[in-house]
Amino acid sequence: MGLQAYLTLAAVVFCIGLFGVITRRNTIGILLGIELMLNSVNINLVAFSRFSGDVTGMIFTVFTICITVTEAALGLAIVILLFRIRRTVIADHLDLLKG
């Protein structure tokens, strides 16, 4: 399969993840969508790296994975904190910055 196939796959997964971010009420559900989006980015990177013969893309992917993990940990910590304070994880209820 050519490069375009992998890119298409990544694009589709990205958009599904975006859909999840937009629609999910639960904050953790939103985070799951974010994970999907980041995943698709990784697929993109690796595909490009493989088809062009440059290993830099894969190294980039390593870094991305690490950072994603950090971000997920922190995000979930925040969700737990929010739950402690506001007793809710429903994103709709977190609208203090409402105009």
């Binding site: 975006l18 971010v21 937009i22 999910r24 939103i30 994103a91 709709d92 977190l94 609208d95 203090l96 910055l97 409402k98 105009g99």
Partner: protein, 651 residues
């Protein structure tokens, strides 16, 4: 600069000096009589200078100008004097009447408080200066400025007794009515400048005579200029201010409303004769309006009881005469009449002033038999009346002949007929005044002075419907002994001078023929042989009718009045012209301004209010975009991204 130019400048500036001193140095002005004598002195000097200028100015043209408004390398407007035959002789008239009136006023206004007297003389000086500015103006811009100043002085002088509501109203009316004409003048001047490229009269004349001025659209320009003349020279329908202007002191009426300001319109048309010659259709309008005005005013004069009103309407009528001559194409004839009329009308006004001063009333009904008590006044007034009626040997005779001849030669038969009728009426109403005031045995009412002879029957036909006479105009008068007498020397001297001048002019022209010291040397037209006898005959007929009615009582005045019932009734209402103007102004104009106000409040402001309200509501609606939820913002970002991508894809 030649002598003529220099002397006209001196004449002009002497009055300016007088005004400046009186206006600025107010302690001096408040002294009253010293200030008055200073002004009179300046006026005398101005008269001498004007006389010298006339002497030098005949047959020469002297143009003395200074650049006033430079514009792009050229001169847009200048200021200075243009002294030629016409302007110098007009200058002499203005200077003479101004001097005589100022001299007369010392006696007439002797009872005024000093501060008011000083104010009066300041206005007189300003007026003389501005009138001379109009006369001597070398370009239309200066003419217009001085024209407006003249209008201002008229307002100031008519409303001299400003604490009287009628005077204040009359002053405003004069100002407004002439202003209506002045708008036309301003428009005409600007349009003319656009066509000719210059304001200067000399340059413009060169353009016109070389045929370089495009004639297309010139009719509108000359008509607009004529509108200005219409206002100042009291042509129908802008004549309504002149009778009301009699609220001012009588010397003011003599100066402004007989000899100088009202003649400014005629003078303007004379100055621009060569321009108007290019638009004969406008000239026809001028002639017809002039003739109609003459007739209208003459009819109105027959129904007046106030002696000053009679003279006012007479002035309007004579101005119509002059305008008709100009409309016929012979402006010189009109100008000639202007000069003679200036003298004898001023004489008549000043004489009327003497009468009013003596009798303490303007009402003809209160007068009668004054010839016995005031012989000097009677003689000079009679001289003036004979001049006005156009009797040979007196001043107005030849000028009236000239006008009638000019109108006939111009082929305007209609106006000619009207003017002949007016000549008859003029003689009639003037001699009515003479017989009522100086002869006869009337006047036993308010004045209470005794005359010999029995009191006659009530003079029917002069009902109280005519404009109410006032007795305020008297200069306070001496102790009210109510015995009328000739005026003091300060007042009678000008009277005699004017009377002598009038007779002198009459005799001179009888001898020398109609050879004017300016204008074409040869007469421009030949009057038909029957003209002179016809004109004189018409005048004599008028005198005869007046004599029969008011002196001999052969014809009953009441039945005479009844014969012209409807006309008389309309005349007493001034042909409803005043009401028309008032209605026009009061209803139409004010309604229009109310409409504009409504539009301003609801439409103009309404638009703004709608815009601001819309801003507020849309702001409120847009506020909901900020929900505070991060998800919605991500959604927004995604939408934006999609839009951008699609745009890039498509573009």
């Amino acid at each position: 600069m030649t002598d003529a130019g220099l002397h006209t400048l001196i004449a002009l500036l002497l009055h300016a000096l007088s005004f400046l001193v009186l206006a600025v140095v107010f302690p001096f002005r408040r002294l009253g009589r010293p200030a008055a004598w200073f002004s009179i002195l300046c006026a005398a000097g101005s008269l001498v200078a004007a006389g010298i200028a006339w002497n030098h100015g005949v047959g020469t043209v002297s143009r003395v100008v200074w650049t006033w408004l430079p514009s792009g390398g050229q001169t847009l407007a200048t200021v200075g004097v243009l002294a030629d035959g016409e302007s110098t002789i007009m200058l002499v008239l203005v200077a003479l009447i101004a001097f005589l009136v100022q001299l007369y006023s010392i006696g007439y206004l002797s009872e005024e408080p000093p501060a008011s007297l000083g104010r009066y003389y300041a206005y007189q000086a300003l007026f003389a200066f501005s009138m001379m500015g109009v006369v001597l103006a070398p370009n239309l811009l200066q003419l217009f400025i001085c024209w407006e100043l003249v209008g201002l002085c008229s307002y100031l002088l008519i409303g001299y007794w400003y604490y009287k509501p009628e005077a204040a109203r009359a002053a405003v009316k004069a100002f407004w009515t002439t202003k209506a004409g002045d708008v036309g003048l301003a428009i005409g001047i600007v349009m003319l400048w656009r066509q000719a490229g210059t304001f200067d009269l000399t340059e413009m004349r060169v353009l016109v005579e070389s045929g370089a001025l495009p004639v297309a659209g010139l009719s509108i320009i000359t008509f607009c200029i004529y509108l200005g003349a219409m206002g100042k020279s009291a042509q129908f329908p802008l004549h309504v201010w002149l009778p009301d202007a009699m609220e001012g002191p009588t010397p003011v009426s003599a100066l402004i409303h007989a000899a100088t300001m009202v003649t400014a319109g005629v003078y303007l048309l004379l100055r621009l004769e060569w321009l108007f010659a290019l638009t004969p259709d406008v000239l026809v309008i001028v002639a017809w309006i002039g003739a109609f005005t003459a007739l209208l005013a003459a009819v109105l004069a027959c129904a007046q009881d106030d002696i000053k009103r009679v003279l006012a309407y007479s002035t309007v009528s004579q101005l119509g005469y002059m305008m008709t001559a100009i409309g016929a194409g012979f402006a010189t004839a009109g100008f000639f009449h202007l000069l003679t009329h200036g003298i004898f009308k001023a004489l008549l006004f000043l004489g009327a002033g003497a009468v009013i001063h003596a009798v303490h009333s303007n009402d003809l009904q209160h007068m009668g038999g004054l010839a016995r008590r005031m012989p000097q006044t009677t003689i000079v007034f009679l001289i003036g009346t004979l001049s006005l009626a156009g009797i040979p040997l007196f001043g107005g005779f030849l000028s009236k002949e000239e006008i009638l001849g000019a109108v006939w030669a111009g082929g305007l038969v209609g106006p000619f007929a009207l003017l002949m009728l007016v000549a008859f009426l003029t003689a009639f109403y003037m001699f009515r005044v003479v017989f009522l005031a100086f002869f006869g045995t009337r006047g036993l009412k308010a004045s209470g002075y005794q005359t010999t002879g029995s009191g006659g029957p009530a003079l029917a036909g002069s009902t109280a419907g005519s404009t109410a006479p006032h007795s305020h105009d008297v200069g306070g008068g001496h102790d009210h002994s109510h015995v009328p007498h000739d005026p003091p020397i300060s007042m009678s001297l000008p009277l005699w001078l004017l009377a002598l001048a009038s007779v002198a002019i009459g005799l001179y022209f009888m001898v020398a023929g109609p050879a004017l010291p300016f204008g074409p040397a040869e007469p421009e037209f030949e009057a038909p042989g029957w003209l002179m006898p016809a004109a004189v005959g018409v005048a004599v007929a008028g005198i005869l009718l007046a004599w029969l009615t008011y002196q001999q009582r052969t014809i009953n005045a009441a039945s005479l009045a009844a014969a012209f019932g409807p006309i008389r009734h309309a005349a007493l209402r001034k042909f409803w012209l005043d009401d028309l103007f008032e209605g026009l102004y009061g209803r139409v104009l004010l309604a229009f301004s109310r409409l504009i106000g409504w539009i301003d409040r609801y439409i103009v402001d309404g638009v703004l209010n709608v815009v601001s309200a819309w801003t507020l509501t849309s702001g409120d609606d847009l506020r909901t975009m900020q929900s505070g939820r991060a998800q919605d913002y991500v959604y927004g970002v995604a939408v934006g991204l999609v839009v951008v991508l699609i745009w890039v894809r498509l573009g």
